[in-house]
């Protein structure tokens, strides 16, 4: 996690923020279980098969989905393929550097990918064209262009939107069709500051927090993926509390992004 431009968060700021939390409010006035304002704009890159532009507070990401045919993995000859890559572009933050993904980007991409994959959002069997020979490959690529915390949830929102509205031609001569979609996973990332658990952290909150937990769930109330990060710990009760928060907040987000689903 990057330090802010002036180095680490100043001790004065930290004291102020923690003091404020005692009143149940965060620095920007949000409640603990409240997301920042967000918009998820569909079809930002019209030539991609699916795309979305997400603004989550001051965090901005572009999600692009390319769907091409290719070979399946040898051990899953009748399943389509999905890959997820997150580029923390140097334009997004003063200390981000160009180059191959670092461990932060890799973790983010893998957590986001796991949420989508384990939910079985896309029905991979339906992406098989000729078993062992030809399947559809869904390339999900994400550009992080402006960074103010909580990349994971911004990415997941954008992917769910982009996949949901993606259109592609399995046969170049044939009609455009939608991806076979099973459900709509939403990740909710929470951090712990002192003993408080709050969702959708800003960068400053990420810097102040001791531990992070992402819980991805689907509309059926099932947990699909979890990931704890950072040096601190959670009690088991805190984790259960976080799962409840994820379910409740995630349902709101899902409806916000997709409208009445199905």
């Amino acid at each position: 996690m990057p330090k802010d431009a002036t180095g680490i968060l100043s001790e004065i700021k930290r004291t102020y923020l923690i003091e404020k939390l005692k009143s149940g409010l965060r620095e920007d006035g949000r409640k603990l279980d409240q997301f920042r304002n967000f918009t998820v704009e569909e079809n930002f890159v019209p030539r991609a098969q699916g795309s979305a532009f997400v603004q989550l507070g001051r965090t901005k990401v572009i999600v692009g989905v390319k769907i091409e045919d290719g070979e399946p993995f040898p051990d899953t000859p009748n399943l389509g393929v999905m890959t997820t890559n997150v580029e923390m572009l140097p334009m997004a933050f003063p200390t981000f550097e160009p180059g191959p993904p670092n461990e932060d980007s890799i973790e983010i991409a893998r957590v986001v990918d796991r949420g989508i994959r384990e939910s079985k959002m896309i029905d991979m069997e339906k992406l098989c064209i000729e078993p062992g020979k030809k399947v559809m490959i869904v390339f999900i690529d994400i550009d992080v262009i402006d960074f103010d915390g909580n990349i994971i949830d911004a990415c997941t929102m954008g992917i769910v939107k982009a996949l949901n509205f993606a259109r592609y031609k399995p046969d170049p001569e044939g009609p455009e069709i939608a991806l076979p979609i099973n459900n709509h996973p939403i990740s909710v990332t929470m951090v712990k500051i002192g003993d408080d658990i709050m969702c959708d952290p800003t960068l400053e909150e990420e810097q102040m927090s001791t531990a992070r937990l992402t819980v991805t769930m689907t509309e059926d109330g099932k947990i699909r993926a979890m990931q704890k990060g950072n040096f601190g710990s959670f009690t088991v009760d805190q984790i259960k509390y976080a799962i409840d928060m994820s379910e409740r907040v995630g349902n709101q987000i899902r409806e916000n992004i997709l409208g009445e689903v199905k």
Binding site: A48, D143, I145
Partner: protein, 246 residues
């Protein structure tokens, strides 16, 4: 330049596939302040191109051996998003983007008062979200605005355009099909006030007469495009006057 093909790029009236006349530009839309972390930013939509530019700096050049004791070093990084082209592109720089980053850096250096900031670097990060022919000159045109948006002192604006040759005719601002199947491509960037050329590349096949014709078209076009740059910046200032939105 591409291989011969059956595509008919000009009709009998000299009208192009997308309906434009020979000297007509594609629509251009240019905005500033599209990012919050960057010191300056701009987004340009030019035809189907969609490009975001962020500027950071001047800041201490790093690593140290890259410092120039006499001036700021401008480091442009031109990058294509994996989803920006028809076939998904592997992330990371390829030889083409290394070359484009270099010529963009050089062109911008001609315009910025680099002598004011010795030992520093000015980073210009260019992300092509959707590519549609002419990305390098669209990037330069937006980068110039992003530098101004970052408050970096400039002696002039850099503004670019391309001409090309299709079916033997010189035409302005090549589209993707014209770029793929045309006979020549000539991207040029100039300083807005002086008309001096700070970027020129060319490939294909041009007679000297065709070259001269193309350069005149570019000079006319860049003057119009420079107006779009000025408007984008003044709209920002208008907003500021009104304590406006965003």
């Amino acid at each position: 330049m591409g291989t011969p093909s059956n595509v008919k790029l000009l009709d009998e009236n000299g009208i192009r596939l997308d309906g434009r006349g020979p000297q007509e530009l594609r629509p251009i839309r240019l905005r500033t302040d599209v990012l919050e972390r960057a010191d300056g930013s701009a987004m340009i939509e030019w035809g189907g191109n969609k490009i975001i530019v962020a500027v950071y700096g001047p800041r201490e050049a790093y690593p140290k051996h890259t410092q120039d004791i006499e001036k700021a070093v401008i480091k442009a990084r031109y990058n294509m998003a994996a989803f920006s082209v028809d076939e998904r592109k592997r992330p990371g720089p390829d030889r083409r983007s290394v070359e484009i980053s270099k010529v963009i850096s050089e062109a911008l250096t001609a315009a910025v008062m680099v002598e004011l900031f010795p030992r520093t670097q000015i980073d210009v990060f260019i992300e092509v979200a959707q590519a549609d022919a002419g990305t390098r000159i669209a990037s330069l045109t937006a980068a110039s605005v992003a530098l101004a948006n970052a408050g970096i002192p400039m002696r002039d604006f850099v503004v670019g355009c391309t001409v090309g040759k299709v079916e033997g005719k010189v035409v302005l601002d090549l589209s993707k099909e014209e770029d793929n199947f045309g006979q020549a491509d000539l991207p040029v960037a100039v300083l807005a006030k002086t008309g001096e050329v700070v970027l020129i590349q060319m490939d294909g096949d041009l007679s000297k007469e065709e070259f001269n014709e193309g350069m005149s078209m570019i000079m006319t076009a860049t003057a119009r495009i420079h107006e779009i740059q000025r408007t984008a910046l003044s709209e920002k200032y208008k907003e500021m006057d009104m304590g406006g939105a965003e």
